[in-house]
């Protein structure tokens, strides 16, 4: 027939040709390699205190300068990439999986829908940073607590997205035809409903990842995040708060890293959205 490239042939290659996707993936790859290869990238021990080298400006010895405890900011930033990436990935994955499950249930089991969605509305009404702050205050700072604290507020958004897809797909005549053909619910969801959620979920997942990296930075910056023994972009910057007029580099360099990484993830998300299916633009992320 006329146009050879169409619906189901939407596999990887065309997606990878999108400039936004390429750019985002490239930047992320650089950050990932830096995080993994941190010990071999000219770093020193990121938690070693050197009181005599406090607040030194950037130089050949300390590329990004040192913080108020004399720790090497460059080393802390490179090691900090590990925490930020891990949190971004973990939160995106967890939020997508849980949101998918909740969204499917709400979209397909009518009597549960109202209840589940009211609960989701309630969770969305609690400002996410404050919810995270409260959780961290109560359970003590730590990577796992931070992941849980950031994931919870993201779940309702994913769930709403999935529910929306399910509600519109279940009206499709091909779904009714499958019901008429005696296909039972689990298979029906797996075969006819789930495939429609994959593209929007991938896109939403990247946005969640970006948002999680930002939120971690903010939480740690406020002193309600990762403890300083584990360097993260947020707590490196938190160390620079008191002396920011004297030593702006402590905040500036990790800040740029956060911005560049989050920008890359966001551009990747926009690119995926346009490349996978422009129609999902109106569905994905009320918040972004």
């Amino acid at each position: 027939m006329s146009a050879p490239a169409a619906a189901p042939a939407r596999t990887l290659p065309p997606v990878l040709r999108h400039p936004g996707v390429l750019f985002g993936l490239a930047v992320l790859l650089v950050v990932l390699v830096a995080a993994l290869a941190a010990p071999w990238l000219g770093t020193v021990d990121p938690i070693q205190l050197r009181p005599r080298l406090r607040l030194r400006p950037p130089s050949g010895a300390a590329w990004f300068g040192t913080d108020a405890f004399g720790r090497d900011v460059y080393s802390r930033v490179v090691y900090g990439a590990r925490v930020s990436l891990a949190i971004g990935a973990a939160v995106a994955l967890t939020a997508v999986v849980l949101g998918l499950a909740i969204g499917l249930v709400a979209g397909y089991i009518r009597w549960l829908d109202t209840v589940v969605m009211r609960v989701m509305d309630g969770v969305m009404a609690i400002p996410s940073i404050l919810l995270a702050i409260a959780l961290v205050t109560l359970s003590g700072a730590g990577v796992l607590t931070v992941i849980v604290a950031i994931t919870i507020p993201e779940i309702p958004r994913v769930a709403r997205l999935v529910r929306g897809v399910v509600l519109s797909v279940r009206e499709e005549p091909y779904v009714e035809a499958a019901i008429g053909a005696g296909t039972r619910l689990p298979l029906l969801l797996w075969r006819h409903v789930l495939p429609n959620t994959i593209a929007p979920l991938i896109v939403q997942g990247t946005y969640v990842c970006a948002s999680a990296i930002l939120t971690e930075a903010i939480l740690s910056f406020l002193g309600a995040g990762i403890p300083t023994e584990v360097p993260s972009w947020g707590n490196v910057m938190a160390e620079g708060r008191q002396a920011f007029q004297l030593a702006p580099w402590v905040i500036l360099f990790p800040g740029l890293c956060v911005a560049a990484t989050v920008l890359a993830v966001n551009i990747l998300g926009d690119g995926l959205r346009d490349a996978l299916d422009p129609r999902i633009a109106r569905r994905v992320g009320a918040l972004r």
Partner: protein, 548 residues
Amino acid sequence: MSAPVLAIRDLTIPLPRLSDRAHAVEGLSLMVAPGEILCVVGESGSGKSVTAHAVMGLLPPVLKPSRGEILLQGEDVVKASPARLRALRGGRMAMVFQEPMTALNPVLQVGAQIDEILEAHADRLSGSERRARVLALMRDVHLPDPERMAGAYPHQLSGGQRQRVMIAMALANDPALIIADEPTTALDVTTQAQILRLMRELQARRDAGILFITHDFGVVAEIADRVAVMKGGRLVEEGTAAAVLRSPRDPYTRMLIAAVPSATPPPPRPRPAATAPVLNTRALEKTYGGGLFSRAGRTVRALDGVTLTLQPGETLGIVGESGSGKSTLARCVARFVDPTGGEIRLDGTDIAPLSGRALHPYRRRVQVIFQDPYRSLNPRRTVGQAITEGPRNYGLPREEAFERARRLLDLVGLDASALDRFPHEFSGGQRQRIAIARALAMEPALLIADEAVSALDVSVQAQVLDLFESVRERLNLAILFITHDLRVAARLCDRLIVMLNGQVVEEGETAAVFAAPRHAYTRALFAAAPGAHRVEADPPAASGAAGS
């Protein structure tokens, strides 16, 4: 003949690269005289709508005429500056669109929307003069109580009233040319008849030329002075309405006219003697709303005591306009929705109260063909997967299911190679054949066709109707044939049921209903059917309307 209002000369509009053909419109020349209605007829993709939009200068930016001219009272629209074009649009030419619900701004009162076109063009009128003119226009198109209705929003009007507002808008500045792009296609037959009558009436009073785009030769017979038939962007035949309808020269035109189902039913076919019915419903009811949290008094009776019987091998037509409950009936019988009262006996068992596991064995006995061939097949699954899904759900081994699918594809006139292909590789008519094969794969006792040919072009429609006929003969199937189109029902159905507001108002043998409709509503439907009044000088182009 006086100077034409519209003269299109050698118009060519290229399509963007990678389209299925090079030109949307190619070398088209047409003329519309003052006071004349020219019907441009064609199937989807014929270029008729592109032509209409080109005249208005409303083509999307990717489409630009590469050659030719469009002369509106001698002035070339193609070369007009944007400002000049704005002055012509709404002033000297106006357009009525297909879908009056979406063509009107939902958040503005209709009076204001009519007023706006006066304000834009007749700037010497004062506010109160414009107001008087708006009310006069609304009266002209027979809108009741114009003072009140001018303050209404589009969603508060019926479909016919909305289209009247559109027409009032088009008439506002007494344009020389009115372009009507399928203006009645989205309307019910009775409403369509009223709108066509209105256009005829206004035509007689004013001297505007009308360019009327349609796919329906029935409508042509009602309204056209002259006819131009388009196919693939080219003009294939042109002439007076009488000449083209009576003795079409081009084979394509002949095929189009022949494909319009005749308004006279074929003679009744011999049917097996009545045995145990496949389906009978008793006092079937479906009420929407009225749940625990719904607002009082907001229930809608979609089905109100429907009782019917269907024998094996019999085809029962359910005819009605939108909102009559005919589709709800189909969905209840297929058990996609739960009826709120009454019985649905399938081979004697009442399946109305069943659900889930208990319903499962009965599902396979009833299969549905849906209206929209583009949405009734999962785009991600191959034709083979679609056809074998049902039989495999009921335990048929994969190999046998595919063997059956191959046989059925042959039966519906498709090649077995279709099994490994995806739905997007097929045309609308082919998809509907696949949907039929999928339904038959379940070896059902009852087939429900819910407006199954309504979305198809007439020529394709005729072929799919032929297919239904041959399948019915071979498999002795009972068919519940839901349609809004009496002519289509006449072609296929042994008996007819006419529905109105969820109730059955007429029931009988097709020939009997056609010969002597008892209910006033049925008579109104017949009177409204487009082409009902046409001069049937030629022998009715019945059966055998072109093979596939």
